[in-house]
């Protein structure tokens, strides 16, 4: 693990086209991450994702290359352009693998502990909601 960035990958039994929709389309994104996602899945689109109604984070789409790459920046101060200095960069890379897709995730740019802590607290709120699903996944043969 490289200090300063998060790298993960997961195999998904679904085509890259389907996985790309799930990681990029705001209607799907709001099912696995925030309560609401408001942006257009096109390069340069700036919008926001919100958690629990009162917590809002800025969100700017950088790259949309279906079904291979989706990148965005988030957590920049509201109203400011997203830069390497003020936001986190997230990259989803999709690689066809057998009948499914290898989904690779990279997040870089941890510069603000207070913001990160808020994200952790926010996630703690959501974990109980997904616990039943997680349990299902672990017992699946």
């Amino acid at each position: 693990m490289e200090i300063g960035s998060i790298e993960r990958e997961i195999y998904i039994e679904a085509s890259p086209t389907v996985v790309f929709e799930v990681v990029s389309d705001p209607r799907h994104v709001s099912r696995w991450w925030p309560d609401e996602a408001r942006y257009e899945p096109v390069p340069g689109s700036t919008g926001e994702i919100s958690f629990g109604g009162d917590k809002v984070e800025a969100f700017t789409v950088l790259e949309v290359r279906p079904p291979r790459t989706f990148t965005f920046r988030w957590t920049q101060p509201p109203g400011e352009p997203a830069t390497a200095e003020n936001s986190l960069l997230v990259t989803f890379e999709l690689v066809p693998s057998g009948d499914g897709t290898l989904l690779k995730l990279t997040e870089t740019g941890y510069r603000d502990e207070e913001a990160r802590r808020d994200h952790v607290n926010g996630w703690d709120y959501f974990l109980p909601r997904v616990a039943p699903y997680v349990a299902t996944l672990t017992v699946r043969p």
């Binding site: 693990m1 200090i3 300063g4 998060i6 997961i10 990681v23 099912r31 502990e113 699903y133 996944l137």
Partner: protein, 114 residues
């Protein structure tokens, strides 16, 4: 704990040369700018500067020995940095599991309708 301090902490370990310095100090024990520069493609002066950055955020501690400072890793501060990173990783693990579940459900539905 202040935001400014942690901002500096992440900046400090965001640099590949400084991460390499931490690797060398962890593997080889305490060292000086001179001994460490032997293992890196940069000058002793550059190494001294990077060690200064690591010292300011508490990742290394310096003890004067003769003409040069001898540096060693501060285990507590390094552990804290790694713990922060692990927490962020755990968040993404959970999100990716949800992405997997949703995508596989959609795929199954499409296969059944085909």
């Amino acid at each position: 704990m202040t935001t400014a301090v942690d901002d500096d902490l992440w900046s400090a370990i965001g640099d590949p040369t400084r991460r390499r310095l931490l690797d060398l100090l962890l593997a080889g024990g305490p060292g000086t700018a001179t001994t460490l520069s032997h293992h890196l493609p940069v000058t002793r002066q550059a190494v001294a500067k990077h060690l200064g950055v690591l010292d300011r955020v508490g990742l290394v501690r310096a003890a004067p020995t003769g003409r040069e400072k001898r540096y060693q890793v501060d285990d507590t501060q390094l552990e804290r940095a790694v713990t922060q990173l692990a927490a962020v990783g755990a968040e993404w693990d959970a999100r990716l599991r949800r992405i997997k579940r949703i995508a596989e459900t959609i795929q199954t539905e499409r296969n059944n309708n085909a």
